[in-house]
C-alpha cells in the first residue's frame, strides 16, 4: 500500500470546521478503508498546528506542547493514507513547513506521497469574515481600521500579517507546495452562495480521496456568521467586558452562547460585506491570483473563477449600524443570558439540596453511639507508642492508606 499524507492547510472560513468534524466522527469508518485521521479530541490538529508554529493562543499553548511530534509519529507509523487538517497551518513559514514535512517522513527511504489541499474562497466574502472572526476573538477595532491595516503595503501590523498569512493563496502554496508536483496540490473552491448545499462537501470528498466511502455527514459543529447589527453588538460587548471577563469565560459565554447560538440565528439582519469603494481593488487582486494559480496547473476541484467574488449585498456599515437593530439584538442577548441564569439558579438550588441532604446524612452517622465509641478508642490509642502500632496494624489489615481517624 502506498503511504500517503494529505495535508489540508486552510484557508479559514471555507467550511473547515465541518470537514474536520466529519473526519473526526468517522474515524473508525475511515480506518476500515485504510485512512487515518489521527485525533483523540476534536481540536487535536489545532493543538499540533499551534505547537508546530509556536503560536500562543489564549493559554491553549500549554496543552499543545509536543503535540505536532506526537501527531507526526502516529502518521509515520500508519501504512496507508493519513489526513491532517487545520486552517491555521496556512500561515506556517517555509522553515516550519520544512520541519513539518521532515517529521512526516519526507526525505526518508520510505517517504510518503505528500498531497496538499487548500480550500479557498473569494476575498469578497473572506475579508468581512476575517474581521468578524477577529471580533469573535475579543478584538475591538472597527471594520474601517481593519480594512486600513490589511491594505497597508508594508503589512507590519499583526492583523495584516495574520490576514495575508492565512488568505494569500499563491503565497500559501509557495510555502506549502513549492516543491510538489502540481497534480499533488488540490485547490478546493468554495461555491458561490445559493448553490447545492452538499456541493462543497463533494469537492472536499474528492480532494481528500474519500469518494465511495459511506460517511455520516451530520454534524452540529459550524462557525456561523453574524449580521451587521449583531457583530456591532459583539464588538461593543468586547469593549465593555474585555478587562473584566476572563478568557476562559469569554469563549463559552460570548463566542458560543451569544454569538454562535443566539445572534447568528437572527437571519433577517443585513450581512457584512465589502464597502463599495474597495471592490475594484479586491477584484484586481482576485483576478491576479486566479491567473497565478491557473498558470501553475494545480488540480482545481471546483472552478478557479469562483475566486472572483460577486456581491448583491447592500452595503451596511458595521461601524455605524442601525441602532434600533443593535438594540433588538441586545434584547435577544439579554433574554438568553436571563434564561441561562435562571437555569443555573435552578441547578444551584438542586445542588444545594443535594449537599444539605449529604450533610444531614453525615451528621446522623456522627451521632451514632457506635461511632462515638470508636472515635474514643482511636483517640486513646493514638496517645501511646503501642496504641499507634495497633492502629497501624489495623489500618494495614483494613487496606486503607488514609491516616485520619
Amino acid at each position: 500500500m502506498t503511504r500517503k499524507v494529505v495535508l489540508h492547510v486552510g484557508t479559514p472560513k471555507t467550511g473547515t470546521s465541518y470537514v474536520q468534524d466529519v473526519l473526526f466522527k468517522n474515524r473508525p469508518t475511515l480506518l476500515e478503508h485504510g485512512i487515518l485521521y489521527p485525533a483523540e479530541r476534536f481540536d487535536a490538529h489545532f493543538l499540533a498546528a499551534l505547537d508546530l508554529m509556536r503560536l500562543p493562543w489564549g493559554g491553549l499553548q500549554s496543552e499543545a506542547i509536543g503535540a505536532w511530534d506526537r501527531l507526526a509519529a502516529t502518521v509515520r507509523a500508519h501504512p496507508g493514507t493519513a489526513i491532517i487538517s487545520h486552517e491555521i497551518l496556512a500561515t506556517a513559514s517555509r522553515s516550519q513547513v520544512g520541519r513539518a514535512l521532515d517529521s512526516l517522513g519526507l526525505g526518508r527511504a520510505d517517504e510518503p506521497e505528500i498531497h496538499v489541499v487548500l480550500s479557498v474562497r473569494d476575498l469578497v466574502r473572506q475579508i468581512p469574515a476575517e474581521w468578524q472572526e477577529n471580533v469573535k476573538h475579543r478584538r475591538t477595532f472597527t471594520y474601517e481600521r481593519f480594512l486600513e491595516l490589511i491594505r497597508d503595503p508594508e503589512r507590519e501590523s499583526r492583523i495584516a500579517t495574520w490576514f495575508w498569512g492565512v488568505q494569500e493563496i499563491p503565497d500559501i502554496l509557495d510555502r506549502w507546495a513549492g516543491d510538489l508536483p502540481p497534480e499533488r496540490v488540490h485547490l478546493v473552491t468554495v461555491p458561490p452562495p445559493g448553490g447545492a448545499p452538499d456541493l462543497l462537501w463533494k469537492r472536499f470528498s474528492r480532494a481528500l480521496g474519500l469518494d465511495g466511502i459511506d460517511l455520516d455527514l451530520q454534524t452540529d459543529r459550524s462557525n456561523p456568521s453574524l449580521g451587521v447589527p449583531e457583530i456591532a453588538l459583539v464588538r461593543r460587548i468586547n469593549r465593555m467586558t474585555n478587562k473584566e471577563l476572563a478568557p476562559a469565560h469569554y469563549r463559552p459565554l460570548v463566542r458560543e452562547m451569544l454569538a454562535h447560538q443566539t445572534l447568528s440565528q437572527r437571519r433577517d439582519s443585513p450581512r457584512l460585506s465589502l464597502p463599495p469603494d474597495l471592490r475594484p481593488w479586491v477584484e484586481e487582486l482576485e483576478r491576479s491570483w486566479v491567473a497565478e494559480v491557473s498558470r501553475r496547473g494545480y488540480d482545481v476541484v471546483g472552478d478557479v473563477e469562483e475566486l472572483v467574488g460577486t456581491t448583491t449585498q447592500r452595503w451596511a456599515d458595521p461601524d455605524k449600524p442601525a441602532e434600533k437593530a443593535v438594540a433588538w439584538a441586545g434584547l435577544d442577548a439579554i433574554r438568553v443570558l436571563l434564561l441561562d441564569n435562571a437555569r443555573l439558579m435552578g441547578e444551584e438550588e438542586r445542588l444545594r439540596a443535594e449537599l444539605d441532604e449529604a450533610r444531614a446524612a453525615l451528621e446522623r452517622a456522627y451521632l451514632r453511639p457506635t461511632y462515638k465509641a470508636r472515635e474514643k478508642v482511636v483517640r486513646r490509642l493514638e496517645t501511646s507508642e503501642g496504641g499507634r502500632k495497633v492502629m497501624a496494624g489495623y489500618r494495614a489489615l483494613r487496606g486503607r492508606s488514609s491516616r485520619s481517624a
Binding site: 509556536r54 503560536l55 500562543p56 506542547i65 517555509r94 503589512r155 507590519e156 494569500e168 503565497d171 487582486l285
Partner: protein
C-alpha cells in the same frame, strides 16, 4: 532610488543564485552584508532561509565563530508567535504581486532579529534544564520563618536559608517582608515581571506605573505586609528595610548575600525569552527555568540595571512618604528606619536607564554563541 523589490532578480534566476552564494558565505562564517554581496552559488537546501535568519547569522558571525550546529539552527529557526513572517531577500527572486514585500536584511530592526534569536535561546534554556540545588538533608527546625515582600529580593534570601538547612514554614512561623527604597522596589518589580510573565517593555511599563497614584502591586510593601498580617496577625509579621538586620530577623548568624540584579538589557532579554519559553514548557517550569537557568547566564554579562529618571524618582519619593506613614501606623515590627524608603536623589543629568534593542540583540547573540560552544564541547567530549 529604485525600490529593491521592483528590481528583477536578473536573467535565469541570477538573484536567487546570488542569495544562495550569500547563504554559503554565511555558513562559512562570512560577515558581508547582503547589499554588498555579489558571488553566486547553486541552491543549497530545500528552501532559501528568511532575511531575518540570514541577518541574524551574519550578526552571530560578527561576534564569534559559531559551530555548524548553531549555524543550521539559526538558518532553520522561525520567529514564534504572531508577527512578520520569514521575509524574502530583496533582489533574490522575481517580483510578484503577492507575498510580503522582500527586504534588505540590513534594514531589519533589531527587534525582528530578536524574535528569532530568543526562540533559539528558549530552546537552549529548555535543553540545559534546571541546575541541581544542594540542600542539606537535615532541616534545622528552629526559628520558623517565611520570607516575602519584594519578590526579587526575597527569593534569593529564601534560597540561601534553604541551603543552610532552614526550610521556610513551620509551626508559628514569622513572616519577614523584605523591602527597599521605593525606586529600587519599582525597578525590581519590572525585573520580576520580565522573569515571570514578560509583559510590557520598560518604558511602557514605567510610563503606566508613574501615571497611577499607587505603587505597582509588586512594589507595594505596606499592602504586602497588611496581607500577611491579616492572615497571621501583626505579631507574626516584620518588615525589614535595613538589609544588615535581615540575618537577625531570620535567626541566622552568617550574612545573607544581596540579590544579584541583572542589567537592563539582560532583564529585557529575559522578557523576550519568556514568550517562546512559554510555548515549550508549562508555566511553573517556565518561571523556574528563567530564574535558575537563564538568570545565571545573564549575570555573566554585567551592565547598568534599569533606573528611574529624575522625575520618576520624585514620584517614587512622594510614594515613599505615604508608605512610611502607613508603616509607622501599622502594628507589625519594622526593622530599619522608614527613611530608607526614600530613594537616593539622582543627578540632574541622569536620565532613565532602560534597555536598548541593539544591545539586547548583541547580548542575545553572545548567549547563543556561548551555548553553541558548550553544546559543541559536550558533543566533542562524548566522542
Amino acid at each position: 532610488m529604485s525600490d529593491p523589490t521592483d528590481r528583477p532578480d536578473g536573467p535565469d534566476g541570477a538573484g536567487e543564485r546570488r542569495a544562495w552564494g550569500w547563504v554559503a558565505s554565511l555558513r562559512a562564517g562570512g560577515t558581508t552584508p547582503w547589499a554588498d554581496w555579489r558571488d553566486e552559488a547553486e541552491r543549497g537546501s530545500r528552501f532559501l532561509p528568511g532575511a531575518q535568519q540570514l541577518e541574524l547569522l551574519r550578526r552571530v558571525n560578527l561576534l564569534g565563530r559559531p559551530g555548524p550546529a548553531l549555524v543550521e539552527r539559526v538558518l532553520a529557526a522561525s520567529a514564534p508567535g504572531r508577527g512578520r513572517p520569514d521575509l524574502l531577500l530583496a533582489g533574490a527572486s522575481r517580483p510578484t504581486s503577492y507575498g510580503p514585500r522582500p527586504v534588505d536584511p540590513g534594514d531589519l530592526p533589531a527587534t525582528e532579529l530578536l524574535r528569532v534569536a530568543t526562540n533559539l535561546i528558549a530552546e537552549d534554556v529548555v535543553a540545559a534544564g534546571l541546575p541541581e540545588v544542594q540542600v542539606p538533608r537535615l532541616n534545622r527546625p528552629w526559628r520558623p520563618y517565611e520570607v516575602a515582600g519584594v519578590r526579587w529580593l526575597a527569593g534569593p534570601v529564601r534560597d540561601q536559608m534553604v541551603r543552610r538547612g532552614r526550610r521556610p514554614g513551620g509551626r508559628g512561623f514569622v513572616a519577614t517582608i523584605v523591602g527597599a527604597d521605593v525606586a529600587t522596589m519599582v525597578e525590581l518589580a519590572w525585573v520580576s515581571r520580565c522573569f515571570d510573565e514578560g509583559g510590557p517593555d520598560w518604558s511602557s511599563w514605567i510610563g503606566g506605573a508613574t501615571r497611577r497614584p499607587t505603587p505597582p502591586p509588586r512594589a507595594d510593601l505596606p499592602d504586602m505586609a497588611a496581607t500577611w498580617a491579616g492572615g497571621l496577625g501583626a505579631h507574626r509579621v516584620q518588615v525589614v528595610l535595613d538589609h544588615d538586620r535581615l540575618p537577625y530577623a531570620l535567626g541566622t548568624r552568617r550574612a545573607l548575600a544581596p540579590a544579584p540584579v541583572p542589567s537592563a538589557d539582560a532583564a529585557e532579554l529575559a522578557r523576550w525569552v519568556t514568550a517562546p519559553l512559554g510555548l515549550l514548557v508549562l508555566p511553573q517550569e517556565q518561571a523556574e527555568l528563567l530564574r535558575r537557568t537563564l538568570l545565571p547566564w545573564l549575570l555573566r554579562h554585567p551592565g547598568p540595571p534599569v533606573r528611574l529618571d529624575v522625575e520618576q524618582r520624585a514620584w517614587a519619593a512622594d510614594l515613599a512618604g505615604r508608605m512610611a506613614r502607613t508603616l509607622r501606623d501599622a502594628e507589625y515590627a519594622v526593622l530599619g528606619s522608614t527613611d530608607l524608603l526614600v530613594p537616593a536623589p539622582a543627578a540632574r543629568t541622569q536620565g532613565s536607564a532602560g534597555p536598548d534593542d541593539d544591545r539586547v540583540l548583541e547580548l542575545a547573540v553572545r548567549l547563543l554563541l556561548e551555548r553553541g560552544e558548550r553544546t559543541t564541547g559536550a558533543a566533542v567530549a562524548r566522542r
